[in-house]
Symmetry: C2
Subunit: 596 residues, 2 copies
């Protein structure tokens, strides 16, 4: 299996050289997060992920979770690793100090999350879901709820879940059947069945705090009648837990991947629930969790992609097979290492370009998340607008390309890639859930194009394209990057035009939105990565000109940017053609004629 | 799990209406294969695959093969199913009547093979490898070898394997270490270890006939020193088997998919081997098997794609989720079936367009295989040339798109797609081996562009593009398809031009071939499917004009062709850009700088 090494150099390149986190931390009052402290945290996190989590990744996949009579057992070593995670204070790294957290910026939490997910995606699900639940309680819970739940979750003593999906509905939450009946003591009796609940039951924590969507008996139909409840596995008592609540795990799923993550059927049988936020506003509260979770899910594309790349590069340098077409490169060996072959390099560079591009996109987005805490309201609003536009793109583009990357990594290994012990196929399987959950990528695309872009009359897109426009204007005719700047400017203009055309068409026929959505999102993703690759390349060029010592690192950035513009960015043409095709060719075939 | 129904209507459309197999059967003297007989065989094959093989597909995946002390046990039911397969005469359907076969055309065998592989890909590996071994013995074996081995294999009493790969080499067969030492009795003592041997050991047949690549002690280095040997598990004796030979299974692999197919490490310890063909010409003999196997592997992309499509269409018609953006479509239900949503249709139509296009490509190619038996030498030569060009495209394009198709099928199911019991994720895992084995798709691409197209100074490509040219000329300005004809003609011309440019560049730098190869192959695949989709659509249009009763079937062809041209064929633009990018952006990064 590939041995994970946290890509600290690339992380620091983004944190220090591209996005200057130190400076932006200062603007949000996170002065504690000095470069020294950030470095120390990154190194400590890397050590933990490399030495504790990564070694449990293959065994966790082979062993999986086990279910017996409502009890779920995680694979060997997970319990101890989680205890170390909690003791190390990782759960509360970016949480509110008022409830025991360290109050460091969210962007730093995301970087640590990248390491965790790259070392062991399944393990990362347990803190990942907890962080989502903490975000919702933090934003919508009462002070008492925060004191009770947030503090324990911050400690890692209690973990969290999101209970949305039911057997008959995932995307369509308006039709959920779980019911919450008001009780005399102000609590609710929650009854129903939820499925696909990640971390719904396990042996890692003392208590599990379920955030459950349910309907009151008199709730309006559809999404406007959904409320959110805290339903703990054990009711809180004193400093710890008391009575067992009426919620239990009915079974766990057997899945393609992330096998060490328990995916549970959860049965609620008049379980005691506590309303969080307002009645019938549950979906809004849940969106807080979901926005958090969507970026986290996008990260999984990067995480699995990074792990796969590390394995593939190592293998490509070691595996000897055939001679280079331009002449023998390793005369002392029976064949050349396969990294000499152009097609192997095509796969490796595709992986590298997506991974490093996706990392830039994620950190760029995380920096905006930090800015939601800016004292300057205009900064907060700007960040909010950009996040609305970027979040569905992060989720869907990073996971689509994550699946592509892990498949390339496996392909580099040839037949060995298909064999479990090498660990490359696990990364494909683990990565494959990410385009599905937290809203399928098709739903992300509708959110982007329908709700965000067209729903704001283009404003949410313009906020971003204006930034790119200014960047292109400032660099037109750049000595080293003139052609790439011109290409980026062309795509930028094209994006505005095609958005306007879709908007016009959609006024006549709403199916035009659904017909264009996924290709539109992918177009945006390629375009945004182009922008970020150029920003990275320009900095790398400067560093080389300044005589930086790590010349190889910076030259790799330049070469990868060049590769990206020449071989990946042109995919926008195919997506554009699909967008322009409109809805007719999708909608004209009657449903009954899809099968002969 | 998706219930498999053989797509007989679509098969007949190609066999009868598009390619007129009856007429071409007559030209190769296969007059027995009358339309009635062909139909009867297809229906019998469909029944067997639907009722016997398909029900073993999920259980075979869950159970896998088991190994204990050199013995391999296949999953429950496989032994009985294989006995039925053999008794039904399916093994010898297209084999030489001189050795017990039914002598029907290869194209018919391929259609049956499609059903077998769609119903149960793992099961299909056992007859698939046997057919490959039979092809090699048939082409290169002595009369005595044919009498001994072919007859038993035709009966299904004995099965076959291809033993090429060794731990240190797969692609690079020139460096194999397995040795064959001549013995006094004219046989050879074969020693060495072969890995990834599909059907290398199992409990389905009385004997297993290994075709093994090995080197004589005095053989020249590299691929010119490889010979091919028959090494049976049991030495033949009388009408059956005698002494156990010195070959045994050391272990089986734990794989991502095709788990019911035994992938074996085979140890040869002075095993008695019999030379097949000439000394040091083993690779040529193996190519006979490999060409056969490459089309068969390409078919696996279609097989898994078809099974996935059937599951996805059914689910999309049944699963209720959200309302259509253009208004409620199923007012009596809590939500509309998801097939109303444009993005779901995008996935389904992508699947349909690739599957039916790939089926057309496979049957088109199979018809050429039949023509290798034409009494007319010019016909044989023409077929050989086209096959040389098409075979690597079938293998790589059909498997790349097969992986895409199965992933769409899984995505249509949302979260349920990731759960094993639904069977959709198995199809992704089973399909994923096909781009790897029988020569990775990267190797197929090099074979196509380097060996075939440039190696023939473009002649092997021209034979095909001339056919398309004539088709476009004959249909320029067609009342219904003028724009598609024009687009096809443009791509045809572009293919010639870009090939010439690569050829020029490759004279200066051989890496230009490897840099362009995979995108070149994919470009060719999209282009060829465009040609075949147009041929299908034009026939469908005629049938509608003639008032054919199955109007829905033909209209689906028109709609899918339209979809293909509007939304999939434009991907050629991205591949063209990647080809035109040349090798520089791939080769300039030093190997040591791929990692930071």
């Amino acid at each position: 299996m590939p041995e994970y090494k946290a890509p600290l150099r690339d992380m620091r390149f983004l944190i220090d050289e591209v996005f200057d986190f130190t400076n932006s931390y200062a603007t949000i009052g996170a002065d504690d997060a000095t470069p020294d402290m950030v470095n120390a945290i990154l190194e400590e996190g890397a050590k933990f992920c490399e030495q504790v989590l990564a070694p449990l990744n293959r065994s966790g996949d082979e062993e999986g979770c086990h279910y017996e009579d409502t009890v779920v057992t995680t694979p060997k070593g997970f319990k101890e690793a989680f205890a170390q995670y909690a003791e190390g204070g990782w759960m509360g790294l970016a949480s509110d100090p008022a409830y025991g957290g360290q109050g460091l910026p969210h962007s730093l939490g995301l970087v640590i999350g990248e390491m965790v997910g790259s070392a062991n995606t399944s393990f990362g699900m347990y803190p990942g879901l907890t962080h989502g639940a903490m975000a919702a309680i933090s934003a919508h819970g009462s002070e008492a709820q925060k004191q009770t739940y947030l503090t324990r979750m911050t400690e890692g003593r209690w973990t969290g879940t999101m209970c949305l999906t039911e057997p008959h509905c995932g995307t369509d939450l308006g039709i959920i059947k779980t019911r919450a009946v008001p009780q005399a003591d102000g609590s609710y009796a929650v009854s129903g069945t939820k499925i696909f609940i990640s971390a719904g039951e396990h042996d890692l924590s003392e208590n599990i705090v379920h955030l459950v969507l349910a309907k009151l008996p008199d709730a309006p139909a559809g999404t406007k009648g959904i409320s959110l409840f805290i339903v703990p596995k054990f009711l809180p008592a004193g400093d710890g837990i008391g009575e067992r609540n009426g919620v239990s795990c009915g079974s766990i799923e057997h899945k393609m991947g992330i096998k060490a993550s328990a995916t549970c059927v959860m049965n609620f049988d008049e379980a005691k629930g506590f309303l969080i936020g307002e009645v019938n506003k549950g979906l809004n509260c849940m969106f807080t969790m979901m926005n958090h979770a969507r970026l986290g899910t996008g990260m999984q594309g990067l995480c699995n992609g990074e792990a796969s790349y590390q394995g593939a590069v190592k293998y490509a340098n070691e595996r000897l097979q055939m001679r280079s077409l331009t002449g023998v490169k390793a005369p002392d060996k029976p064949a050349d290492p396969i990294i000499v072959h152009p097609d192997v390099r095509r796969m490796l560079l595709t992986m590298k370009a997506f991974n490093e591009g996706n990392r830039a996109l994620a950190y760029f987005t995380a920096q905006l998340l930090d800015q939601l805490h800016s004292p300057d309201e205009s900064k907060r609003q700007e960040a909010e607008g950009l996040l609305a536009f970027l979040t569905p793109i992060c989720k869907a583009f990073m996971t689509e390309t994550g699946v592509e990357v892990t498949n390339h990594g496996m392909q580099v290994f040839g037949g060995h890639g298909y064999i479990r012990e090498w660990g490359m196929e696990q990364l494909v399987r683990d990565a494959r859930i990410a385009p599905i959950y937290e809203g399928t990528n098709g739903i992300q695309a509708l959110d982007l194009l329908g709700r965000k872009v067209l729903g704001s009359q283009g404003k949410l897109m313009l906020a971003f394209t204006k930034q790119v426009h200014r960047f292109c204007e400032a660099n037109t005719g750049h000595a080293d990057f003139a052609s790439q700047i011109a290409e980026l400017a062309r795509l930028n203009k094209q994006l505005g035009e095609v958005t306007a055309r879709i908007g016009m068409a959609a006024m006549k026929n709403p199916d035009e939105v659904g017909a264009a959505a996924l290709d539109y999102l992918m177009y945006c993703g390629y375009f945004i990565l182009g922008y970020l690759w150029l920003r990275m390349a320009m900095i790398a060029r400067e560093k080389i000109e300044q005589g930086a010592s790590e010349r190889g690192f910076y030259e790799a950035k330049l070469a990868t940017c060049d590769f990206y513009f020449k071989r990946l960015l042109p995919r926008t043409a195919a997506h554009l053609a699909a967008i322009e095709a409109g809805s007719e060719s999708l909608m004209k075939l009657p449903a009954e004629h899809f099968s002969a």
